[in-house]
């Protein structure tokens, strides 16, 4: 059984079909890419998977379970985490608290236990901080733990978004243009990082990316969208050689 299946998903905004009849599956532990020109509907696909929008038509299952009726926070809790194309950190909170938000949903301590803060609370809290420090250490950001998120440099902000998503312990991680705004060295590091995440956390990753070097370099399978429709799917080499893809990108017929 596939981890995530989109079955004939269509999303319309008024008269505009942002995504049309998309059928696609993503496997456990896979590293896939979604590419396509600007406005092709890539981010919209992420938004519909994570429940920000409901599909106009079609269904989505995750681990065999229909997730269309679920609210965004419930979808996060069944194991789908994401980052955003336009970074969405909790700017007024510290790096460490940005990550701590991830634990609020499995926190056994409810409202009143969190006020009293006795008994198991302290042990739980220590456990969270250990996990946070471990994650930050892994991504070389431990020294920034008490920094306000909004004061981080661009690269660290992108990295924190990924760390924060990982703290949610997802089975599937959606990355929306993580390399945007990075220089070539940072991009190299990011590629290493994404592979590392997939291997250490053993999760599936779907990546939206405009930088072909990055996508072709790390994705095992790529889906190409154009005007909301899937025009190609396959390995990086297959996709690169596909005339429809070349046409979509270069805007001229190849035949």
């Amino acid at each position: 059984m596939s981890l995530l299946s989109l079955n004939n998903v269509t999303i319309r905004f008024g008269g505009l079909t942002a995504v049309g009849n998309l059928t696609e599956t993503f496997e456990q532990g896979s590293l896939s890419g979604i590419i396509g020109p600007n406005g092709a509907g890539k981010t919209t696909v992420f938004n519909v998977i994570t429940g920000v929008y409901d599909p106009t038509e079609g269904g989505i299952t995750f681990g065999g379970r229909d997730i269309v009726p679920l609210k965004p926070y419930q979808i996060a809790n069944v194991g789908i985490a994401r980052t955003f194309q336009n970074i969405r950190l909790f700017g007024g909170m510290t790096v460490s608290d940005n990550i701590r938000v991830a634990f609020n949903n499995n926190a056994k301590s409810g409202l009143f236990a969190s006020v009293v803060q006795l008994f198991n609370y302290q042990r739980e809290e220590e456990n969270y901080h250990k996990q946070i420090d471990h994650l930050l250490d892994m991504f070389g950001m431990l020294d920034k733990r008490n920094e306000m998120a909004k004061n981080l440099n661009y690269g660290d902000q992108r990295r924190l978004e990924i760390v924060r998503a990982l703290a949610c312990k997802p089975k599937l991680l959606l990355l929306d243009e993580p390399a945007a705004g990075m220089n070539p060295t940072e991009k190299q590091e990011l590629m290493k990082l994404i592979r590392y995440i997939r291997d250490t956390f053993n999760i599936a990753i779907i990546l939206i990316e405009h930088d072909m070097k990055v996508v072709m370099g790390i994705c095992e399978r790529i889906t190409v969208l154009d005007y909301g429709h899937k025009i190609a799917v396959g390995t990086p080499d297959e996709v690169k050689a596909n005339p429809k893809v070349i046409e979509a990108y270069l805007g001229e017929p190849t035949h």
Partner: protein
């Protein structure tokens, strides 16, 4: 262990201060007493509104409405329900019990109405939420005004004066403890996440609706308690005491203190309660400030907002400041 004990020591300190204040303030003249009492009640109102507006980022303009529900609820309890339950309590030790139960009664009713109002209206954002909560406050006022058994616009008079300095500042200490602990906890990070970015919060599994309603209900509860304290000090409550301007007054304290900074908000509550009273008797070069004290009050607000738009205490990373302080003491290792 230190980390566990420290907030409790602060709470204890707060309670000791409440004792100290009540010992001191019992001896001062009634006019000054009233100011100290108002400061305490406004601290409760501002700190609790800060959970909604400052920490959770939901702009509510209905706090005076919740205060009035608590005030009427508590007054009804002590004047009508308590005598049946506890017998004659005035002047006996039982009056504190009656007050405590009355405050709880008023607070709970206020919280329940907070749920009813919160669930539908917290779907709205920003200006829309402000307008709806403003409308709620006014509706409550008009409803009370039109219920003859609640005294209409004349209100309820002859409420027994059970509120003491100790009660007021004891509850200030409790509110501060409650909100500080909650917003520092892992669970409490959800409130801050909702404030900073709702979409990102949902994407991380935060049930944003639940957090918003919870903040609203906790805020409503404490506003209700503050209302009960007010009624049992003032001995008279009228719908006009809880109008739109009262809500604005509390909002200004929150904004001036710095959204999300509990101590800043307490300070602003004290300052903004004291300054108009201080100006009342202030004289400089033979000019009496009494007649234009509200203009000066407004001027101070404008200057403060221009120079510190984030509030007096807002936007300060105390954790980092303390670290830097400690480092400079220890020297660079």
């Amino acid at each position: 262990m230190n980390k566990v004990a420290r907030p409790y020591l602060f709470l204890l300190l707060g309670i000791i201060i409440a004792f100290g204040l009540s010992a001191w303030a019992d001896g001062i003249n009634p006019y000054d007493q009233r100011i100290v009492m108002s400061i305490g009640i406004n601290m409760i109102l501002a700190a609790s509104l800060n959970l909604i507006n400052g920490f959770t980022g939901q702009f509510s303009l209905g706090h005076a409405g919740f205060m009035s529900i608590g005030a009427y609820g508590a007054a009804i309890f002590t004047t009508m329900i308590a005598p049946g339950m506890l017998g004659e309590v005035a002047g006996t030790g039982m009056q504190d019990v009656a007050l405590f139960m009355g405050l709880l009664f008023g607070g709970i009713i206020s919280a329940l109405i907070g749920v009813l109002v919160g669930i539908p209206s917290l779907r709205l954002k920003g200006d829309y939420l402000a307008i709806v909560t403003l409308g709620f406050g006014e509706i409550i006022r008009v409803i009370i005004q039109n219920i003859p058994s609640l005294g209409g616009s004349l209100g309820i008079a002859n409420i027994p004066r059970y509120t003491t300095f100790f009660w007021v500042f004891f509850i200030v200490a409790i509110v501060v403890f409650f909100i500080q602990q909650l917003t520092k906890s892992t669970y409490g990070q959800g409130f801050l996440a909702v404030r900073d970015d709702e979409i990102a919060a949902e994407a991380m599994g935060v049930n944003t609706t639940r957090y918003k309603v919870e903040a609203f209900v906790i805020g409503a509860f404490f506003a209700g308690v503050a209302g009960g304290l007010y009624g049992h000090y003032n001995e008279l409550i009228r719908p006009a005491d809880f109008d739109f301007l009262k809500s604005v007054e509390i909002i200004v304290m929150v904004i001036l203190g710095g959204m999300g900074s509990t101590y800043g908000v307490l300070f602003a509550a004290a300052l903004l309660t004291y300054v108009p009273e201080f100006l009342r008797g202030f004289e400089l070069f033979g000019v009496k400030f009494d007649s234009f004290r509200m203009s000066i009050y407004s001027l101070i607000l404008i200057i403060l907002m221009l120079t510190r738009p984030q509030g007096l205490f807002g936007g300060i990373n105390f954790k980092k400041l303390m670290k830097v302080g400690r480092k400079s003491v220890v020297g660079n290792q």
